[in-house]
Amino acid sequence: MTRSITALAAAAALLAGCPSTDPEGGDPNAPPNVDGKPLISLGDAYGEDAAKTFPGLATLPNLDDDNSNGTPDWLDNEAGDLVAEDNDLATFVVPASVWTDLADGRSYRLNMHGEVRNFRIWHDGEIVLGAVDGDDLETWTLPTSTEDLSFQVEARSMLSQAWVALEQMEGDESVDNDWTFLTASPLILNHHLQQTEMVWVVDIPASGSSWISRFYNNEHMIDTYADVLGDQFTPVPGNQYQGDVWIQDEIQIGWMNSPDARTDLVIDSIRDRGLDDFPEDGIVGSNSGIGPDVVNETWGNPQQANSLDSFGNLEISPPVTVDGVEYPFGRIYFGGDSNRYPTRDLTDFLAEQRIQKPFMPNTAWLCVGHIDEVTSTVPDPSSDIGFKFVIGDIPSAYKILEAQDEAMDLPRYARGSNEFGHGMATVGAIVNNNALRMENEEIQEDILDPMAEQFMEELNLTEDDILRMPSLFESLPGCGNAALIPGMVNLIVTNRGEQTDVFLADPFTRDSDDPTVGQDEDPVIAHVIDMMPNTLDLHFVDNWAVYHMQLGEVHCGTNMMRTPEADWWSVAGHLLEGE
């Protein structure tokens, strides 16, 4: 939605032939609001003058399926029979006091202007304004009432905009008026500072007796999540989804809300691999324990999907202020370059939401190409901005490894590529590999340094806001680069009350076959613990075979639902106004 509400309202007013109610208030002949009292009340969730201050009454796109009949409620309601279970309607009230002392011969009528067919206003179980059975109702005369009259509003789609005027009529003449904007919620995507409600990981248990079967499992990761999160963690049976573990890639979850209602929206990726049915089974469906106030939508053509359409490549910063503009829900970023990028159907839609203005760093150098391979954010209550930006960093990785004994065995790295390894048996095999060093130096110079500068500019960060995560990459012939040291930047943040946990890959930069050598003796882990804000509880999980060697890490294999924070109608109106 890029139209100006000013232009929209002005155009609508002209079309409706009632310039006296132009919400711009620019018409000097407009009848006064006679006694200054508002004729429309939005309720306690709104501040004074909220009705006439954009975005006005926050409404909800009625896209969910509260009666579980397989049809969005907006469509169910089309014929004028309100879905009994519908819980997505916003309310405004015309107080009974407007009829007190009303002069004889006067009455009230409601007019709707703007995107009339994108809203419906209900009263007493009937549609009085907006879209109904193919028509647009634009005017309705109110009955005289001794009680407050309550109106319920639903919207067709995100950021639909209109305004409703209540006019006091004397014959055909409007002698008093009040009005309110109606704005449908934008889609807002979750960021790492929000509270966690539910976490999902695809469960790949150990099976069989062979070495590979024992090794190719994610039991340590599953057990860690279960121990830490309890019933806020749900393992997803891998055998139902063809062993597709990349649950971050399949869905991205956001929300739409109004003061009285919330709908979560699952963006279902066009990647369409094994987990394609998971949103329907595990989140939206009535048996999921989460629906029905959840919507599943897809943007783009699966036939044209590329790796960048996966949602490891769609991330959101915490709230930032950039060039004086507040982004209270953060900013969206996704990787790509001029030749390869996520489907425009989705990225254009996200840009149209305006509330989390997207930008695109370069990830074309990576084999998989996802932005979560090299950047993330973690909460930091001690920071002025409330978080730290985390980015992969090569010099720190070399510095740590060079301080170790070159003969130190690295059993996880030692095995061949067909046995979940990198063919590098010792620390020396890494630090003395000239080509590996040259390649990584180039990545730092050409990619990571400019990327850090880009994030500093786009998110208004200072050097103090950045954490440099030790990282090394290795190029794969015919593909691009992938993590050599398991990508710890590819992390998961869960917030439960004051408790914040971070789940990230165990780098195994130690003699991990020696049972006496644990994570507490891993020099890279020690560095990361020292680097991270001390308010975070870090959990280094074994994601080696199932994730790391398959070109992903912990974040790639995890997804979650979070609790909305802040009211967009209160804090983000400035992002939705204007051109």
Partner: protein, 297 residues
Amino acid sequence: MTNSRWILVALSLSLAPPAFAGDLAGRLLAVDASTDYLALRDDLVLDADLSDDALADMANHPDWRVRQQAAVALGWRHDPALFAAVMQAEPIRDRAQRLRWYDDAFADPAAFPAILERFMHRGEPLQVREGLFAALVERSDSWAEVARGLFAQEEEPSLRVVMVGSMRKAQDAATALDLLRLGLLDADPTVRAEAAVSSGWRADGALLAPELLSALADDQVQPRAMAARALGWLAVPEATEPLSALLIDAAPDVRLHALRSLRRLDVKQAKALTALPRLLQDPDPRVVKQAQKIVAE
């Protein structure tokens, strides 16, 4: 391990004792080349006049295809379950959609000839064949030689890229360098570019300096850029002059890698480059950064 199983493993690892070749080698080659492969292979397997010992004697034959076909015949005779399992095994897709096999059959040391047979003769889609080739790498002493043998007849450039790339870590230096030379002359620029990169990865890659220097004149950008890059990685001093000539290349990637390689070769010489002031104003910020780095060092 049973005796027959030992023979199978030995064949796949080329460890069997010296052997007599005779007409059998020709028959095995004919099977390998046949358009009616499966029928002829089954004839071999079921041929009661063809002894296991005769097949085992092929283990040191100089032609890898003979060794392979003998191993296949023995494998189907003595471990058909393993071979069938390899043929039927389903891969998993990694996050980049590459296919990888992590099952017991593929992990068996005796599976190499079965995987290779599937790769060569099953007629599967390109993506499957790429995954199967990856499964062959480092599984046998002869895999580099096999890769070289397959390279010449492989029609798919993306698969030739993977074959050339697999030479980065090949222990068999002569074979690896030979294949990389072929790669640097390949008809497809993506293969030539990967051959240049993989040459840079090898500790003995400087032995390919003449070919890499020639590649600096490639008419395609990426082979030219990657050759410039590899010559810097390998610190080939003869590259200084031709790399300097590339600093006016129209392609930013070529200018970038040429300049960085010159810095790596000798930063003092790089500081004296007459092109340096112009490169400090280059339209590509990466080139500017390299030039600034040279000035600052």
